[in-house]
């Protein structure tokens, strides 16, 4: 029995598919969701979201949001969500450099927090983009 998963952002529906397992980065740590999970509503963090279907893992980079889990249906309301092959590595690299620069400047506490959040996002994007490459090389 598969789980019907929907990943939606404010701009588009990123994914709508039947999957076997979901591994998501929540505020309290990573959680794995299998079919017939108890109803759960949780906050997601910036991180790597893995979707497993037919033994294949599909990684996504997400930057926070919510996950609603019902026994046969999971909805992820993401702030942003990108599949590995959608990530523009050059832009992520650029964002990483810009964020590091801002952290080094230390203008204000608020700016520092924002820059750190951006850095986390860029690093996750780069990591997920790398994952895709490794798999293709095999």
């Amino acid at each position: 029995m598969p789980i019907h998963l929907e990943i939606v952002t404010a701009e588009r529906v990123v994914l709508s598919d039947d999957v076997d397992m979901i591994n998501a980065p929540t505020k309290d740590g990573r959680v794995g969701i299998l079919p017939r999970h108890a109803p759960l509503l949780t906050i997601l963090e910036v991180g790597e979201l893995d979707i497993i279907k037919d033994g294949v893992t599909m990684p996504f980079a997400i930057s926070g949001g919510f996950m609603e889990v019902l026994p046969t249906r999971v909805t992820i309301l993401a702030d942003t969500a990108e599949r590995a092959d959608e990530i523009d590595e050059a832009r992520a690299e650029e964002a990483r450099r810009a964020a590091e620069q801002r952290i080094a400047e230390r203008k204000s506490a608020q700016d520092l927090a924002l820059a750190e959040a951006e850095l986390r996002r860029a690093l996750i994007q780069l990591k997920v983009a790398q994952l895709k490459k490794v798999r293709r090389d095999k």
Partner: protein, 290 residues
């Protein structure tokens, strides 16, 4: 009576004008369709968010104080977000929105409330500056296809303003896209958030992680963001459809003018020929009499 050459020149310039307005009409038509698709694309997210919010607010009426749901009995500060296009040539669209903004401000002030304006779009920004309104924030040059992140600054400003007590209510004014021919200026209350009425049979016993309060705390600002984003996208769809209709009228008018000019061109040409023929004829008659 103008000469035939002059009329010919005017016909040519009117023709060029019609070509330009026709091109603008077609550009606006395609932008309008894409903008409409963008509006529809936000629906799944907004609807799901509303569902989740319904579950939360339905069971936790007691935790509204201090959140974005808190309805304050004594409203003193109001923020109005005015969404307008950056560019003109869109018929009466901008005027209609700004007239509504002026009326809103006046009505609120009569109730003894202080109104602060947040402008999205250059037309509205310029108007507020010109009329010396309390303009506290602005966002211009969003382009035709803005991302959600483009309006986060504005959303954060009003959310923080509400939480710190600077604003007791926040409204957004934009032109609602009814259909291609009708765009209606609409005011919608963003804050405090109107909790949805959730039918009781949909209630599910969720486990909340980390806690109910924290989930709600994270959820509510997102709802404000997506509502504002929807308003902006709808305003863009309205802008393009208004411009499309305005340009279609301009093209039609140019065509009419071209027809009138062609008619008077032909009349003048005919009159000239008649005049020349009669001059030749009378000249020949004068010769024959000699």
């Amino acid at each position: 009576m103008p000469s035939t050459r002059e009329i010919r020149r005017r016909i040519r310039s009117v023709k060029n004008l019609a070509q330009i307005t026709r091109a603008m009409e077609m550009v606006s038509a395609s932008k309008m369709r894409r903008a409409q698709r963008n509006v529809l694309a936000t629906r799944p997210y907004a609807d799901r968010l509303l569902d989740v919010m319904g579950e939360l607010t339905g069971r936790a009426v007691g935790m509204r104080r201090g959140t974005l749901l808190e309805v304050r009995p004594n409203v003193k500060g109001v923020a109005l977000i005015v969404v307008t296009p950056d560019r003109g040539l869109a018929g009466s669209l901008v005027t209609n929105v700004l007239r509504r903004a002026a009326r809103f401000t006046l009505e609120e002030q009569e109730k003894g409330r202080m109104v602060e304006i947040v402008a999205i779009g250059k037309k509205g920004r310029d108007f507020m500056v010109r009329t010396h309104q309390r303009l506290v924030a602005e966002k211009i040059k969003l382009g035709d296809y803005p991302r959600l992140t483009d309006i986060l600054g504005i959303a954060t400003h009003v959310v923080n303003g509400f939480l710190t007590g600077r604003y007791d209510e926040v409204h957004v004014l934009y032109s609602q896209f009814v259909n291609t021919l009708v765009q209606r200026p609409t005011t919608r209350r963003l804050l405090p958030i109107e909790p949805p009425h959730e039918p009781a049979d949909r209630m599910v016993d969720y486990t909340y992680e980390p806690s109910q309060e924290e989930v709600l705390h994270e959820l509510l600002p997102r709802f404000v963001e997506v509502q504002l984003y929807q308003a902006v996208l709808e305003a863009i769809a309205s802008e393009h459809s208004a411009r499309m209709v305005a340009m279609r009228n301009a093209t039609d008018n140019a065509k009419d003018l071209q027809r009138d000019l062609t008619l008077s061109y032909n009349k003048t040409r005919q009159a000239n020929i008649t005049k020349e023929v009669s001059e030749i004829a009378s000249g020949a008659a004068a010769l024959a009499e000699m």
